[in-house]
């Protein structure tokens, strides 16, 4: 049995490790070095704080037998710049790097930024269940478009999203050297 619920601040460490499963490479690029320990510290820093892209406030978690086995962060695309600024500032101060990522989302949708499932719990439909939950929460209940980016060429992921009724919006994004395609569900 799994429980899908809104995250609490006490979930921050679990959120950091789950989200990092999906975005370690991106964190490496942001920091300018490939160091897993530093990447985890980076994610923990933001997960436990408020008002940023990776804050616990924007997260939903999946619990199995009392442990968090998956997490996802979702936010209103209209708030991207405000939520991203603390991340850009931190990278500037801590790593002395100026990063100007292309906008991954925009006003008019809720955006699934990153979703990670613990490796020991993959293949059990947890990621799919979490996506179905998000469709229910944002599209059905709140009547909002829900969007995400998929790496071009990641056909398995794209098939899964299409099965869940995400459709290509035709928009392409180049984010930190990754070629991504925008998919969306509009009620």
């Amino acid at each position: 049995m799994m429980v899908i619920r809104k995250a609490f601040v006490t979930d921050s460490e679990d959120i950091a490790s789950c989200l990092l499963l999906a975005m370690e490479e991106i964190v490496f690029r942001l920091m300018g070095e490939e160091n897993s320990e530093k990447a985890l510290a980076f994610m923990c820093y933001f997960a436990e704080r408020e008002n940023n892209q990776y804050s616990w406030q924007n997260c939903w978690v999946v619990e199995e037998a009392g442990s968090v086995v998956a997490a996802v962060n979702v936010y209103n695309g209209a708030h991207l710049h405000a939520l991203r600024q603390p991340v850009i500032d931190y990278i500037k101060n801590k790593f002395n790097r100026s990063v100007t990522p292309e906008d991954e989302t925009r006003d008019g949708e809720y955006y699934i930024d990153s979703l990670g499932v613990h490796p020991a719990h993959r293949g059990k439909g947890i990621g799919t269940g979490l996506l179905q939950f998000l469709i229910d929460e944002y599209v059905t209940r709140r009547n909002q478009p829900l969007g995400l980016l998929v790496e071009e060429g990641n056909l398995a992921a794209k098939r899964l999203y299409e099965k869940l009724s995400f459709k290509s919006s035709g928009r392409k994004v180049l984010l930190l050297e990754k070629h991504l395609e925008h998919l969306q569900i509009i009620r």
Binding site: M1, M2, V3, I4, K6, T128, G129, Q132
Partner: protein, 52 residues
């Protein structure tokens, strides 16, 4: 408690699902026993003075 009949929502693999409102917390793979126990847990937390 409100039971709503819906069409196929393709959730067979994680169903039956019980969603507890207003938080919309999903409890998956439920059966009669788990549902009863969940109902007792949830109602025990409700303030008896609050209007539902």
């Amino acid at each position: 408690m409100q039971v709503i009949k819906t069409g196929c929502t393709d959730r067979c693999k994680i169903g039956p699902v019980i969603a507890v409102m207003p938080q919309n917390t999903w409890h998956t793979h439920m059966d009669e026993e788990k549902a009863t126990s969940l109902f007792e847990q949830v109602t025990a937390k409700l303030d008896p003075g609050a209007s539902l």
